[in-house]
């Protein structure tokens, strides 16, 4: 009974601490006379401003009498085009428009810059993850290999990458390697993130392999399997299952680390936030929103991994 009461008491303490934190933030906001305005945020998620309809070539405009159809006849050419799905025309009949001139707005919802940024973050993380896994597996196998060249090279790779900050690596990849090899910002981002995460995955793979009892390799080899077969069918399946929680942690780190590529010309979630703030000067709402979006991403990932772990833990 007393146990039950003291548990209740500690939940009370927990609620009190949370309340204190909220009050503290509110107090801080009040102190700086910040004028909260959450109304602006949704439009950065889903944009209602519609799509701009641009002229595909130099042309004369004609609009039908009911105002529903806009036709183009190419200036000095044969091409023509007509549009019916638009909300508001910006050109008038008889106008001569040039390529990429604004003709009209098409109404409708489209993803806002935050969602576009989120998609870029997801795409960047997913592609980097694939390459990081391959790189980490190769380097991890190199770490436990007998061959001195493979062992030394993978060990140097891991030490080099883990010993330097990711931001510095991103700058080197983007400004040096990216310039020499003419990489796009996205490719440079993937290279930097994959190489960085690969080093950590290599260590996870190595510790996983070393956690499998020696007898497993001996038994496999005694049956006539070569080293690669023993690794593939016996050692790695066990090692990867054991390291799944650490691998999941590394994937979550990768998503968070991808925010650093916002220093390049790449509109990921973080960069999208900076762009919004530079136009509306509302850093508080935007950063809180972005933090929540990252949290949703990493939270659902760790949920998925927990489910996977449960499914694999049948024996």
């Amino acid at each position: 009974m007393t146990r039950q009461r003291s548990r209740g008491l500690w939940y009370g303490v927990y609620a009190l601490v949370l309340l204190g934190l909220v009050a503290g933030i509110w107090g801080m906001a009040a102190r700086v006379h910040y004028d909260w305005n959450w109304k602006d945020v949704p439009k950065y998620l889903i944009s209602t401003s519609g799509t701009e309809l641009l002229a595909p070539f130099d042309a004369y405009v004609s609009i039908s009498p009911d105002g529903k159809t806009l036709s183009l006849q190419e200036y000095g050419g044969e091409r023509s085009a007509s549009y019916t799905e638009f909300a508001e025309a910006y050109a008038e009949s008889g106008d001569l428009v040039f390529r990429d001139d604004l003709l009209a707005y098409q109404a409708g919802l489209k993803p806002g810059i935050l969602l576009i940024g989120l998609w870029m973050t997801l795409k960047l993380s997913a592609v980097s993850l694939v390459f990081a896994l391959v790189l980490g597996l190769v380097a991890g196998l190199g770490r436990v290999a007998d061959n001195p060249a493979a062992r030394q090279l993978s060990s140097n790779y891991v030490e080099l990458i883990r010993g330097t900050p990711l931001l510095v690596q991103i700058f080197i990849v983007y400004f040096f390697i990216g310039t020499v090899l003419q990489l796009s910002a996205f490719t440079a981002g993937v290279v930097a993130l994959a190489v960085f995460t690969g080093a950590y995955i290599a260590e996870i793979v190595r510790s996983g392999i070393e956690s499998v009892p020696r007898g497993q390799m001996e038994a496999s080899r005694s049956l006539g399997m070569n080293y690669a077969q023993a690794m593939r069918y016996v050692i790695l399946p066990q090692a990867l299952k054991k390291t799944l929680p650490s691998l999941a942690g590394q994937f979550i780190n990768l998503i968070k680390d991808s925010s650093l590529v916002s220093v390049m010309a790449l509109t990921d979630l973080t960069k999208a936030g900076r762009e919004i703030i530079s136009s509306n000067f509302r850093p508080f709402e935007v950063w809180f929103t972005i933090a929540l979006m990252y949290l949703a991403l990493t939270g659902s990932l760790s949920y998925l991994v927990r489910r996977l772990e449960k499914r694999l833990a049948h024996d």
Binding site: P213, G215, Q216, E218, A219, S220, R221, S222, L223, G224, M225, N226, Q229, Y233, V234, P237, Q238, K241, D315
Partner: protein, 247 residues
């Protein structure tokens, strides 16, 4: 003897990098169909000797010929050689992520490139042979030690080896499970399998072995047929050892 010898080790020495001399000039010859039990105190080199026979350990001098193959020569295809030599370990070393059936069928499928259906059918036969037909779909974690060791024997037999090496196969078992594993090994011996068994089971050695070898300090101290070996120990060291284990 030399003509029919399936295993012939001559002057085998094994010195670890830290200077420990595990084997110190061992000569051993095992004929086809012979069952040899190796006994001796721990650290006497009996497991090491067994493991040099399929090159799980390297040697520093001497030579080992198994089924006509020079085991420790530079150009030997070790993986092919090992398909002729089955090995059973003290700790079973079953693959925990696979069912009993998959454990047995894995090497025939991957090494001998048998079609999966054929490998599985053969694995089922072998599980029947070791008395575990009903455990085919069970993972090793759910099997008793004795059952695991029998699966391990079936796994080694799946490669249709000419020789079976047993490295203290019953030492990690609870006493009530020793019998079932020894029974399977007796069946094997009756079928004419050539076997080298490192063991502490003197009863098994006396009943099944054609020859018993006593090792100490990295050397074969004495070998004889079981009756003579146990009833009239040839030297004081053996007498003292037998006195220890048989009391």
């Amino acid at each position: 003897m030399t003509e029919a010898a399936l295993i012939r080790a001559t002057g085998v020495e094994k010195c670890y990098p830290n200077g420990t001399q595990a084997l110190n000039g061992v000569d051993l010859s095992v004929a086809r169909g012979e069952v040899v039990c190796i006994i001796g105190p721990s650290g006497s080199g009996k497991s090491t000797l067994l493991r040099t026979l399929n090159a799980m350990e390297t040697i520093t001098a001497g030579e080992v010929v198994v089924d006509g193959i020079l085991v420790h020569a530079r150009g030997t295809d070790l993986n092919r050689m090992r398909t002729h030599v089955g090995m059973v370990f003290q700790q079973f070393n079953l693959f925990p992520h696979m069912t009993a059936l998959e454990n047995v069928a894995l090497a025939p499928m991957r090494v001998l490139r048998r079609p999966p259906a054929e490998a599985r059918a053969r694995a089922e036969e072998l599980l029947v042979k070791v008395g575990l037909a009903d455990k085919a779909q069970v993972h090793p974690g759910q099997l008793s030690g004795g059952q695991q060791q029998r699966v391990a024997i079936a796994r080694a037999l799946a490669m249709q080896p000419a020789i079976m090496l047993f490295d203290e196969p019953t030492s990690a078992l609870d006493p009530e499970m020793v019998g079932e594993v020894l029974e399977v090994m007796k069946d094997l011996a009756r079928d004419g399998m050539t076997m080298c068994v490192v063991t502490h089971e003197m009863g098994f050695a006396r009943a099944v072995a054609n020859r018993v070898i006593f090792m100490d300090a990295g050397q074969i101290q004495h070998q004889a047929a079981p009756a003579a070996f146990f009833d009239a120990p040839a030297n004081d060291r053996l007498k003292a050892f037998l006195g220890q284990v048989l009391k």
